[in-house]
Amino acid sequence: MTAQTERELETETETMTVREAVRQALREELERDEDVYLMGEDIGLFGGVLEVTGDLYEEFGEERVRDTPISEAGFMGAATGAAATGTRPVVELMFSDFAGVSMEQIMNQMAKMRYMFGGKAEMPVTVRTTEGGGMGAASQHSGTIHTWIAHFPGLKAVAPGTAASAKGLTKAAIRSDDPVFVFENKMIYEQQGAVPVDEDFTVPIGEAAIEREGEDATVVATQRLVGESVQTAESLADDVDVEVIDARSLYPLDTETIVESVRKTGRLIVADESPLSYGTHAEIIARVQEEAFFSLDAPIQRVGTPDTHMPFSPPLEQEVLPDGDDVREAVERVT
């Protein structure tokens, strides 16, 4: 268990869903800092299409919980300009697939302004967005695109797998002076967990968490696959002792925690819902082979979406969606 996780558990906690944890983070940061405001499609009156912002509009009013036009390029660019000029916008991008509409502002303005201007531009902007298949939302509302953002220089990317990290990472993102994307897997909004109630609780960006300790194999998982990997590990406990790490932060990535675990177990499985080619799995694996090549006892396994889009029909969606069973098979292949 990392020191950070210990610190988190020492604090008083409350059981809540991931959705409630994100909302609590938003509420606390709106209360803490007047320069913080939320903007996005249907986040106010409507409460968010996945009901994350909920009643924040009633609580904070339309100036601080701003309904935008359906205009991702416009409001992503506006958030960028606002962040450069003294306020701290928190954008909700309804589905991460819509990043395509706003990618120009993300990649050419938000990510580059500080660097292009010799460090003389601030960019304290947070973008929350939803990812993942599993609800029959089909290809344009189910994507997992976090690899694009984690890959692109100048942006930070986090992807919580538990209610506690959802709250702590959201708060850390809003407090950060850098552009941070928070990728919320929509299938875990109802997942419950113990969440620290301390208003100063944050999860530092760039720190992974060991969710289950083990000696025989390491599973580095993200988002929905964290919980499913822990369940898989429990079900395998009689035969093999699996360690499960929630990567939590994709960029920066906590290489140290992952490498230390692999040095101990000698086996690595990377489980992330993004498509397999050229992706998040590959980056984690590259870091491990650079630092722990001689500790490896078996080929590294990866669990992800097999390079397809998310199909609509439930049997097709279940076919391509990685889950705990895929993690189990991967563990069994190497132990």
């Binding site: 036009p69 409001f75 606002a82 500080r114 292009m116 003389k120």
Partner: protein
Amino acid sequence: MGEIDLQSRDGRAEALRRMLTIRAFDSEAGDRFADGEIPGFVHLYIGEEAVGVGTCAALESDDYIASTHRGHGHCIAKGLDPKYMMAELYGKAEGYCNGKGGSMHIADVDAGMLGANGIVGAGPPLATGAALSIDYQDRDQVAVGFLGDGAVAQGQVHEAINLAATWDLPAIFVVENNQYGEGTPVEKQHNVDNLSDTAQAHDIPGLTVDGMDVTAVAEAVGEARARARAGDGPTLVEAETYRYRGHYEGDEEPYRDEAEIERWKDRDPIESFRDRLIDRGELTAEEFDEMEAEIEAEIQAAVEYAQEADEPTPDEAYDDMFAETPPEIERFATVARTDGGER
């Protein structure tokens, strides 16, 4: 009244001085680029000086502007120092962006200049964002998004205007219609007669002014500023102007002929304004020549400063990515450094 009061004699002299400074700066930048001293590429503002100076004259010094590819003129109009501008064009450490931006990304956020921009139409959303910060914090400022005629065809421009109009943000959109979007004439890119007609779609005032007349531009932007500050939202000002040089330096300009360029030069924004001031008895030809010589000397000093300024050291390439630098950058930089990782 804005930063430069064109109702006053001193203000008019200052406007003339800034237009002359832009022309001298960009003429020199073109020459130094041709000599190979300035790397990359440059887009010159010569011919369009009245638009930038007229706009910034009507602004207060802490107002924001978001610029275009053709940003040198906006910088000088906003009061940036040609010395550090030239150093930036030369890629020197003492440039406004420490050599990381160059001509196309020159910026000074502290001075309200949110950057030249390499993406056509990217400035207006940034200006809308600056106007959002202003509005949110009840500050007595406005934000101007400059755009070229070509950018009027970009979707993000209309999204920015719609957002600013819907939220009544203190923004002004200044279209510099220099008759060509890169190498294609404006009438081949747009269906409207006047680009300002597009304002109707957003139910905001849109007007077309003579962009070769610094006072006409200042008057229009001044009214737009007053409107923005009154809480009545954005205005779109189209300034009809012309660039004398190619889209970029080295452009062979197959799309136009010399006669057309000469026709526009007959309405030169600097000469016409100079003549007006001489006619009014505010300026003599000798005083103008003196002013021109002073500015020429200032630009030569800027070039010398840029030539002699320090190059950035290679390891500065790894700075300024983030407020809080992730370990990845240091780690990869250590491997990548040509000096074997020694700082």
